[in-house]
Symmetry: D3
Subunit: 117 residues, 6 copies
């Protein structure tokens, strides 16, 4: 089945449940997450790369997928994303490799979608 | 397929294999895990909330499911469980969000089951 | 030197530097941290225990010290705090022991201070 | 479906994508990973056990599966592998249990395959 | 005592001991670490920011200090570094705060040194 | 001051406080920790190496020191211990390096003590 669609549909269905049940703290976390990636002294594009690579070393596949989407959106090339993740892989070690595998698979699907758009 | 049944059946089948193959150390870990959540100076109910929230920040989905079952059993409301997990989400950061998503989905299924019992 | 004073002075001096240099995101994290531990569906006292035990399993000594102070403040006994941390120790394993050691040392100092107040 | 085949096919398909897209840093990580498990002052067999148990405490299921294959290959018995993982379980705590469950399931499949070869 | 000097002297003395005792695998890790932060499709400056923020979320104080030195060297302003670390703090949660405190203290010392050079 | 003595004295003083305050769960964790490293299907010597390397990748300096003492006691050479830790460094990434630095420093002190005994 479609890798991109599976993630996007599941994420959006689950997010709806979280929002429906959220207390004020959870709501604040969600709104904080949004303002975190705005332009400031550091540009939004670099912040997206930080979002991706910190998610990778913390080995959160769903977070990685989310930030891969964002990194493609803000204009990183496939080569740049791979090199950014390679830094994370050195920092985080070979236990990051299975997450890199899933990330590259998702990244390829994202660029396929983009080229066929 | 049924979210609750999938987890319960898989956990119980896999636990059987672990017990069948366990050395004395693994057996002790299992028995330690059981006595940990008894009433003492601190009540068992609070201990279950600790079990849930420490599992959440350590991002172990199966552990979270297990402790969600226990938290519902000992009488926490859905709102209380959400607020407990919200504390964990602040402490553990946005990388906890995908685990919170799966937890809320499971929690809703647990309360649906309870209401239809 | 005094264990309590060393932590409190360092924390407060360092916090001043963080606040002086904070962007709006860091400010929000600090204010979020504060509202997280308010009474709600779940009482503030239980939330402090969650703050302590999640910090312990994530092995953050300074966070543990902070929440030990809070747990004593909101009225937990020494025995209750030990039992709460014991749950965290089972969940997080023997690598938590060095953090438990430092926590118990700090906890004893806190109760000494309280009794001599 | 077949547990061993699912892992092996997925790993090999995903590894191909990683290699196709790898920059020089990722390539070096892969080659470093290979030379790490050679005989030296410490024998290769003990190094495989280290690979397995460090992967287990870091809770990386795919890494665990990979090192289970290797540990069976270099001649560890099922009992030895279980005892090695039990050490990891004590060090890493009960949050390791769900990973132990999946590991034991995979290990049984590996020994079934071996006996039927 | 001098914060910068303490870290630099200790790191350099300890690194000497590691190199003196290193097997070929440790040597390769050290050389890999060096080539990781070179210009490529992604510029070296962005890679240094990734090095800093991934170290922060993994809560390694010495790694953070090392990358703070590098980030100042490659020309990031104090405000940019704070904003980068703020992203890490959202991703990694409030357990990152004690590490952020130590990082900001070190960062101030670095900029003091630079202004007095 | 003496690196070995500092660790040993602090550990033993703090352990006394933990034992004085321990509930039955903490006591069980301590006794479980002891039986874990006994001979079984897997020899005690290999188990000590697992104790060391899992502690290293989980980045617990005090646990690493404890297991370094044990590994020297059971007869590993300095070269073997370095190679074992090198495996952990590959698995756990460059964030393990500061812990490796402290470990090698401690290991040298242990072998100095042994040679001068």
């Amino acid at each position: 089945m479609d890798l991109l669609k599976e993630y996007r549909d599941r994420r959006s269905a689950q997010n709806k449940k979280v929002i429906d049940n959220a207390d004020k703290v959870v709501k604040r976390i969600f709104s904080l997450d949004t303002i975190t990636f705005h332009d400031g002294a550091l540009d939004a594009k670099t912040k997206e790369m930080i979002g991706l690579t910190t998610s990778l070393v913390l080995r959160c596949d769903d977070c990685v997928k989310y930030h891969l989407e964002k990194c493609v959106e803000v204009g990183y090339t496939k080569e740049q994303i791979i090199e950014g993740m390679a830094v994370g892989n050195v920092v985080g070690g070979t236990i990051v490799i299975p997450h890199l595998r899933r990330a590259v698979e998702y990244l390829e699907a994202l660029f396929d979608e983009k080229e066929n758009a």
